[in-house]
Amino acid sequence: MTLNLCVLTPNRIIWDSEVKEIILSTNSGQIGVLPNHAPIATAVDIGLLRIRLNNDQWLTVALMGGFARIGNNEITILGNDAEISTDIDPQEAQQALEIAEANLSRAKGKRQAIEANLALRRARTRVEAVNVISY
């Protein structure tokens, strides 16, 4: 019994095949989903999505928030944006993180702070996706 995972973003389908297990970061913490999980609907936070493939290898995807619906061994994740860790350039991700941190310290006012915070969280997630230790 395998899970059918479908990761969708507004402009393309990131992932659409069978997996063994996934670990998802939601607003209320991380949840692990195994086959025959109870049907739930949850909001997804900006964080890492870890996928265990059929050959027991782990794959990391940087997910920029969204929504997940789990039911009947079918998982549908709708994300604002998603990048598979192998597609991320580590140098560029690190630079983006530094720029985001600099922007946050320069942010003035509520509005700039909101934007800078979001950008920082996204950049941090991307760097984490590249640096994750796979086991």
Partner: protein, 375 residues
């Protein structure tokens, strides 16, 4: 003798002013400024008078028109190829929007009893509006950029009359240069969309708009973009982006709302070898949701996560439609330009040939007259 035969022969042909030319041929055959428009008296009269000055200049002109024609034809083909890619982008974005609409519907069904208050749907009295204006990056696309900018100016004038202050977020180089030259229009930010709009660009605009709305700097956000109607027609439209309606409807400024589930998507296909556009009303089948689906978090939090997704996909759709309209406009404009270039080349070639023949006739006459004078 032979000379007069020649002149009569030429006089009886189409051009009466050839005598005019041949009488002047003694002076400077290559510097003739034809007083009368030569092709005007021929059977096919072009609408404007062609002023030309000499064989060499004519030849140069014909060469340059030929080059221009090659360029415009190439641009048309490139635009046609890009339109296909834009179409593919829209199609690949469909699974997302379909699933999203389905989920929104189901959540709304389950939340009908409750009163949800999500920040993005809060309706406030309007004091300031943000206008997101989507233009293109390059020119040579007919009236595309002008149309959307005119619409923006109209809306700005309306808002001024109503006494509502506004700010503009300009997307696209053409809009950027336009607003930069007009510092009296307050612009919040200049963004560029690039060749193919991706989620990153849509996210940048969404972030900006989101923070403006949440921090209560603006009370309403409107999106101005060009809706793709057909290959020869596109419509600049204004859609209300924020505040969102919890059911996921797309609202016009006049409050006319279209149900998201009945949203139309355009599709470019070929019919009998010609590119046509088919509008498909995507009616997503909303299956009965399994009632055992539990919400991991508060339904309000779930909606809070869903609505930004909806915002992103709306902005991306607008960018994609704008791009498709721009490409279609460029295709039409370049196609017209190519046709004009072909016609101009034909006209110029005819004039060139007539002048060449007149020059040859003149030289023959000179020679014959000279030979005559000797005998």
């Amino acid at each position: 003798m032979s000379c007069s035969n020649l002149t009569t022969m030429w006089a009886s042909s189409n051009l009466p002013n050839l005598d005019h030319l041949s009488s002047r041929s003694f002076l400077s055959p290559s510097r003739l400024l034809s007083a009368a428009p030569a092709p005007a008296s021929s059977a096919r009269a072009p609408p404007s008078t062609v002023v030309h000055c000499g064989l060499r200049e004519l030849r140069d002109r014909i060469d340059s028109v030929k080059n221009t024609q090659k360029i415009t034809e190439a641009m048309k083909l490139v635009a046609a190829a890009k339109v296909r890619r834009a179409q593919e982008a829209v199609v690949s974005g469909r699974p997302f929007s379909e699933t999203l609409v389905e989920v929104l519907y189901n959540i709304n069904e389950q939340l009908q009893m409750e009163d949800v208050d999500v920040p993005l749907t809060r309706v406030r009295p309007v004091r300031k509006i943000a206008l997101v204006v989507v233009t293109g990056d390059r020119g040579l696309c007919g009236g595309f950029n002008n149309a959307i900018i005119k619409k923006a100016e109209q809306r700005i004038a309306e808002l001024k009359l109503l006494g509502i202050s506004f700010t503009v977020i300009s997307v696209g180089k053409k809009g950027n240069t336009y607003f930069q030259r007009r510092p009296y229009i307050p612009v919040d930010r200049f963004l560029e969309a690039g060749n193919l709009p991706t989620t990153k660009e849509a996210q940048a605009i969404a972030d900006d708009v989101f923070s403006l709305f949440i921090s209560e700097e603006v009370d309403k956000v409107e999106l101005l973009y060009t809706k793709f109607v057909s290959l020869v027609k596109s419509d600049p439209v204004i859609h209300t982006l924020l505040p969102l309606s919890p059911k996921g409807e797309i609202c016009d400024i006049n409050g006319v709302c279209v149900d998201a589930a009945e949203d139309e998507l355009f599709r470019l296909t070929t019919k009998e070898g010609k590119l046509t556009v088919e509008r498909e009303a995507v009616r997503t089948p909303t299956p009965s949701f399994s009632p055992i689906l539990q919400f991991e978090q508060d339904p309000v939090q779930i909606l809070d996560a869903l609505l930004p997704l909806y915002l992103n996909s709306q902005i991306l759709r607008a960018l994609q439609e704008s791009l498709a309209s721009e490409l279609a406009a460029r295709m039409t404009a370049m196609s017209n330009a190519t046709d004009n270039a072909v016609e101009l080349k034909k006209t110029l070639s005819m004039v060139y040939n007539r002048q060449r023949q007149a020059k040859i006739t003149g030289e023959i006459l000179e020679i014959v007259a000279g030979a005559d004078a000797l005998t």
